[in-house]
């Protein structure tokens, strides 16, 4: 074994108490980082999943209508104008099949679907409830919001005047699968439809108002035959949605809203969480560095006579330096491996302890292998850096003075 490894490992083994103490400190520090990261990552991805479960990543609709003056100024003509904002009416996306084809070909898109969305009122006996009429294109829409997986009753069948409705809406109206329902749009068109299924997405606004039917049926209810008011799409990287939306706006002039625009508060919450995670990691790194450094500094002082002897009998300064760097690195590696194991165990225990009685975790944790590898690399680097000052001090010891002081 190379001299510096032999001496470093022997010193670590010989000072069992010190080594155990600092390994405990490093592994507790690393386990806190691993545990917290797993918890925060898990919370964030489950929050994002539940948010995106009931809305598309990007929604395209017609641009807002702007008031257009009838007379232009020019040729020495000045005009005083009083401009009122234009009232926004439900409009189709211009040439939507062409836009659709274009959107589908764009990079990063996993699904796209044209839909018709309008407002209306659902009536059942004496109950009258405002609803959102959603005309969708069956399978394409399911790739964006998987209603089929969220059915609590009946099945997803929207053919021939059948509809599926939200669970809260169903209970508000007191209806279930097979019951009939009168739906009137704000355009004044009415139809009686049959409920084929009830879904629960977990988003109250959706579960309370949505009446989902076929594209064609909704087009006739809203009096926009052959039209589509929105195109909804999914992308690979959900956090790139706002950039992709900006790109679509630049290309087509359509209003493109990403889920990030619509959930700004959620996102700022997530980013606050991420930065608190970064802060905790930073302080743990500082603590671990100081811990390793202080143990090694004490060790250099304790061993200064021995270091002096090693130097006197002909040990090159660079090998003395290496002895202490190796100790720092080894403490970092072993401490962080122990800490990672500990952190994963904590995370799993926490997940199990906070699960609801059905065993479904309330706080799902997400252990990321890259995170573990990163922690181990980081702790090793930290160990080396922490060892740098003590190691240089050891290498610069004056052997004659060190021996005399013993």
């Amino acid at each position: 074994m190379p001299f510096q490894w032999f001496v470093a490992l022997r010193y670590l083994r010989d000072e069992k108490g010190q080594t155990a103490l600092i390994l405990a400190a490093v592994s507790v520090g690393v386990s806190v980082v691993v545990f917290l990261s797993a918890l925060i990552n898990g919370l964030q991805s489950s929050l994002i999943d539940s948010t995106l479960g009931s809305q598309p990543h990007i929604t395209l609709r017609s641009p807002r209508e702007e008031p257009r003056p009838l007379v232009e100024a020019g040729d020495g003509l000045a005009i005083a104008r009083l401009i009122q904002p234009a009232s926004q009416r439900l409009r189709s996306i211009d040439q939507w099949p062409a836009v659709m084809a274009r959107v589908e070909r764009a990079g990063g898109v996993t699904a796209a679907s044209a839909t018709v969305t309008g407002s209306g009122v659902a009536t059942r006996a004496d109950a009258r409830v405002p609803v959102v009429i959603r005309g969708v294109d069956g399978d394409r829409f399911l790739a964006i919001i998987d209603l089929r997986a969220k059915m609590t009753d009946g099945s997803f069948d929207i053919s021939g005047g059948r509809v599926v409705i939200g669970s809260t809406l169903a209970s508000d109206l007191g209806i279930g699968v097979g019951d009939k329902l009168r739906v009137a749009s704000t355009e004044g068109i009415e139809d009686v439809v049959t409920v084929s299924g009830v879904f629960a997405l977990g988003n109250e606004a959706v579960d309370k108002t949505w009446v989902v039917t076929s594209l064609r049926h909704a087009q006739s209810l809203i009096a926009l035959p052959g039209c589509a008011t929105t195109i909804e799409r999914q992308v690979n990287d959900v956090f790139a949605a706002d950039r992709i939306a900006d790109g679509i706006f630049a290309q087509t002039g359509l209003t493109a809203d990403s889920w990030m625009d619509l959930n700004a508060e959620l996102l700022s919450g997530l980013s606050a969480q991420s930065s608190s995670k970064t802060m905790i990691q930073f302080f743990v790194v500082v603590t671990v560095t100081l811990g390793i450094a202080s143990v090694l500094i004490v060790s250099v002082v304790q061993k200064s006579r021995e270091i002096g002897i090693l130097r006197a009998v002909g040990t090159p300064a660079r090998r003395v330096l290496a002895v202490f760097l190796i100790q720092g690195g080894v403490l970092g590696v072993i401490g962080s491996i122990l800490g990672s194991v500990l952190g994963v165990v904590f995370a799993r225990l926490f997940e199990r302890m906070t699960s609801d009685p059905n065993g479904v975790p309330r706080f799902p944790v997400q252990v990321d292998l890259a995170l573990l590898a990163g922690s181990i690399l980081l702790a090793t680097g930290v160990g080396l850096i922490a060892a740098l000052i003590p190691a240089r001090r050891a290498a610069r010891l004056d052997p004659s003075a060190a021996i005399r002081s013993g």
């Binding site: 009998v313 002909g314 090159p316 004659s400």
Partner: protein, 230 residues
């Protein structure tokens, strides 16, 4: 004429920056191969300073030290370390073994530290020399489990394992009872006679000094007497 192992020429060593203290005031000293010399003198006379300079652990303020044919004045720290590792052996007063290591590991350390990786030859030589000092049955003991005399014998084995040209011993028997002291000194005499290793022994003990072929006395940083006996 015998081969010169050490030549100290006009060595001066001052300490302190503002108030200068002269520890060595122009020392000239030569040692030839195979000599066993005692260096005596009262406390504060400059014995340890001279030993540190000869041992390349300290540099003279002026003058030069030629060790085994190498002029050391122009060497950098790295070259001095290497020269120390290959031509010098040290025996310190308080044996100065490394307590975390076994006897045989302590004996191997100088060569191991110099070459980087251990070889079978290093180990065999270390075991052979431990046998020569009568400790072959203690080779795998931690040195903290050995008696004072045994520890000093391990220290002598360590100083001799790599066959140095010159062994420097600083009060090698200072901490031992007379029986152990005799044992340790007899070992040095034996290696001197059998291997022809040159020794420079700093000592307070007149019984040791009397048994050396040459006694050098240093007083106030100068050599005051230098006697050879046949």
């Amino acid at each position: 004429m015998a081969e010169s192992i050490l030549s100290v020429e006009q060595v001066v060593r001052d300490y302190g920056e503002h108030v200068r203290t002269r520890a060595l005031a122009g020392v000239d000293l030569g040692l030839e191969r195979g000599e066993l010399a005692a260096l005596i003198g009262p406390s504060g006379s400059g014995k340890s300073t001279l030993l540190n300079i000869v041992g390349l652990l300290d540099r003279p303020t002026s003058g030069r030290v030629v060790l085994a044919g190498t002029d050391t004045s122009g060497l950098n720290d790295r070259a001095l370390t290497e020269l120390r590792a290959r031509t010098l052996g040290f025996v310190f007063q308080f044996h100065h073994l490394l307590p975390a290591f076994t006897a045989v590991e302590n004996v191997m350390l100088p060569a191991w530290a110099d070459r980087g990786a251990p070889t079978r030859e290093m180990r065999e030589r270390a075991l052979a020399i431990l046998e020569a000092v009568g400790l072959s049955d203690r080779a795998s003991y931690k040195t903290s489990d050995l008696s004072g005399g045994q520890q000093q014998r391990v220290a002598i084995a360590r100083a001799l394992a790599h066959r140095p040209a010159l062994v420097l011993a600083d009060e090698p028997t200072g901490n031992l009872d007379t029986a152990s002291a005799d044992e340790v000194f007899d070992l040095m005499r034996r290696f001197n006679a059998e291997l022809g290793t040159t020794f420079l022994v700093v000592t307070h003990d007149p019984r040791i000094a009397d048994r050396c072929q040459r006694v050098i006395e240093i007083v106030d940083g100068r050599i005051s007497s230098d006697q050879r006996r046949s």
